[in-house]
């Protein structure tokens, strides 16, 4: 049985269809990369998988439990087996890095404080932040924040680890370090990993399989090699980084012709006496108009 099973998922925002009948199985222990351009629907799909939003129709089963229809208590239980590293970290700014990692351990387990401290140190060491536990999130760099978020996501040793745009906003070296970290965690903890990204080098480095999203639908789902060999024009456009040529489309050309090239109509001079004269002629002098 697949760890996560998505069936006919439809999501709409204000009548606008964002995800259109998606179906996907994510097996236990595999790294699935949700790849796509901006607005493709990959972050929306991630929010559905982690149970932050409910779909219009369709189902998402996580460990055999349909999280779109389960009770809040069941959803809480499922969430304890998930760790999510958000795009900007989403660390609690009032807590130190160590306290951020310790929070789920303190609240969801009955471990002794000394064991929790040890566990926190292990998780911080796993992401290379063992010496920075006492710092506040705002004292960290972008890459360190992301690693701290990963440490917090690892806190409860989840079976499923979700990364939202792990490389965005980072320089290539730090982004590569995060890719290494994801691979290291996967090999060490044998977790099911879901990564949402639009970074091609990162996706091809860490993925076991890639699901390519385009306008709310899957264009292709397969291994790295299958995606690379795909002849789908949209997949090829994305992989070959071919621009959409938005600036030469007919709409833009028409806009350009209408508003930029054609001379602007000259503003009508302000002559209020003309309006008074016209009013006088219409309502006072003309005999047809009855008062």
């Amino acid at each position: 049985m697949a760890m996560i099973s998505i069936r006919d998922l439809v999501v709409e925002y204000g009548g606008r269809r964002v995800l259109d009948g998606l179906s996907l199985d994510i097996e236990a222990g595999e790294t699935m990369v949700l790849l796509g351009g901006s607005g493709a629907g990959k972050s929306t799909l991630m929010r559905q998988i982690i149970g932050l939003e409910r779909p219009k129709s369709g189902s998402i089963s996580v460990k055999g439990v349909d999280i779109t229809r389960c009770s809040p208590a069941e959803l809480k239980q499922i969430r304890r087996s998930m760790g999510v590293a958000f795009q900007d970290g989403a660390l609690f700014n009032s807590l130190s890095i160590a306290d951020n990692v310790a929070l789920p351990l303190r609240e969801h387990t009955s471990l002794a404080p000394s064991i929790i401290d040890l566990d926190v140190w292990i998780k911080l060491a796993a992401v290379g932040l063992a010496e920075f536990g006492k710092l506040l999130p705002q004292e960290l760099s972008g890459g360190m924040k992301k690693r701290a978020a990963v440490a917090r996501a690892l806190a409860l040793d989840p079976e499923i680890l979700v990364f939202d745009e792990p490389s965005s906003g980072l320089d290539p070296i730090v982004a590569a370090e995060l890719d290494d970290l994801i691979l290291f965690l996967k090999h060490t903890f044998q977790q099911t990993v879901i990564v949402v990204t639009h970074e091609l080098p990162s996706a091809f480095r860490i993925a076991d399989r890639i699901a390519m999203l385009y306008k709310g639908s899957f264009l292709a789902v397969g291994t790295k090699e299958q995606i690379k060999a795909s002849q789908n024009p949209h997949v090829r456009q994305f992989l070959d980084r071919v621009p959409d040529n938005t600036a030469t489309t007919r709409t833009v050309e028409a806009y350009f012709e209408k508003y930029v090239q054609s001379p602007a109509p000259s503003p009508r001079p302000w002559r209020p006496w003309e309006r008074v004269e016209a009013y006088f002629e219409k309502y006072v002098q003309s005999p047809e108009v009855k008062r």
């Binding site: 982690i50 149970g51 932050l52 809480k76 239980q77 969430r79 304890r80 998930m82 999510v84 958000f86 795009q87 900007d88 989403a90 660390l91 609690f92 700014n93 929070l103 789920p104 303190r106 609240e107 969801h108 917090r152």
Partner: protein, 267 residues
């Protein structure tokens, strides 16, 4: 005409949606209040409630005290200037004592707490919404209502009535100081006059109002925070909306409570 009707309908629906959301949030928070209680609840929520009590209550003491002293002087001076003409200077004591216990104490405290803490709640939760901290809480299997709202409500329910009583004391004390300097009335005599003029029901009605105001300030402030969408500028808008809406609703609620107490014979 259709456009006007559409606008009215849209505005009505939006306000109904707001009131509905506020009611659901209030009910959920009252149900979750148990987790913030000491001994029986979650000790981390109780600790958070204590921190909130310090922020809402203890840190507001100087501001509430000064506001109450100033208003006590103002009320006593304005009252005395008119009452002196009709030879009823002694009624100034009743004016200050009853005015503060029934009305000014709860209202001044609520306005101070709304300005300090209502906007702070909106800004704090708004920032949490913008930075996805609320989503992080939810995916870590925490209920934002239990985690964020319950400690704030418990803290406000305890501190706002206490601040109100403190405000009453300061206001009445200011009246006593004025009476001492203007008529050389001894503080003991003044206090005796105060004790004879106010009744227990006056104090209780003021405390009941303060409890209602505490709920309004916390719920409206937090609601505006949870409605925050967008960037940092949205947080600023939420903070403003939080303090404006809560102050407005506090005054509306004050009018309603005063009418209830008046028509049921409480006053």
């Amino acid at each position: 005409m259709a456009t006007f009707a559409e606008k009215v309908g849209k505005s009505t629906l939006e306000h109904l949606d707001y009131i509905g959301g506020l009611s659901i949030q209030t009910w959920a928070t009252i149900r979750a209040l148990g987790v913030a209680l000491p001994f029986t609840g979650n000790r981390y929520r109780w600790k958070a409630a204590i921190v909130q009590m310090l922020q809402i209550g203890v840190e507001a003491i100087p501001m509430v005290g000064l506001m109450a002293l100033c208003c006590g002087f103002i009320l006593a001076m304005q009252g005395a200037s008119e009452l002196r003409r009709v030879g009823a200077m002694s009624l100034t004591i009743d004016l200050v004592a009853i005015g503060f216990t029934r009305e000014l104490g709860p209202l001044l405290t609520a306005i101070a707490v709304s300005g300090r803490s209502g906007s702070a709640f909106s800004a704090e939760i708004g920032t949490m919404m913008v930075t996805e901290e609320v989503n992080a809480l939810r995916v870590m299997a925490f209920d934002p209502v239990e985690f964020v709202l319950a400690p704030k409500l418990l803290a406000a329910l305890i501190t706002v009535p206490c601040l109100t009583v403190f405000c009453n004391v300061c206001g009445i004390f200011a009246g006593g100081v004025f009476m001492f300097f203007s008529t050389h009335l001894g503080l003991g005599t003044y206090l005796h006059g105060v004790m004879t003029s106010i009744h227990l029901r006056d104090v209780i009605s003021g405390v009941i109002k303060s409890v209602a105001f505490a709920i309004i300030i916390v719920m409206v402030g937090c609601r505006e925070g949870f409605r925050t969408h967008g960037g940092p500028e949205a947080v600023g808008r939420s903070a403003t909306a939080g303090v404006v809406s809560s102050t407005f609703l506090v005054i509306v609620a004050d009018a309603v409570f005063t009418a209830i107490f008046y028509f049921t014979g409480g006053h």
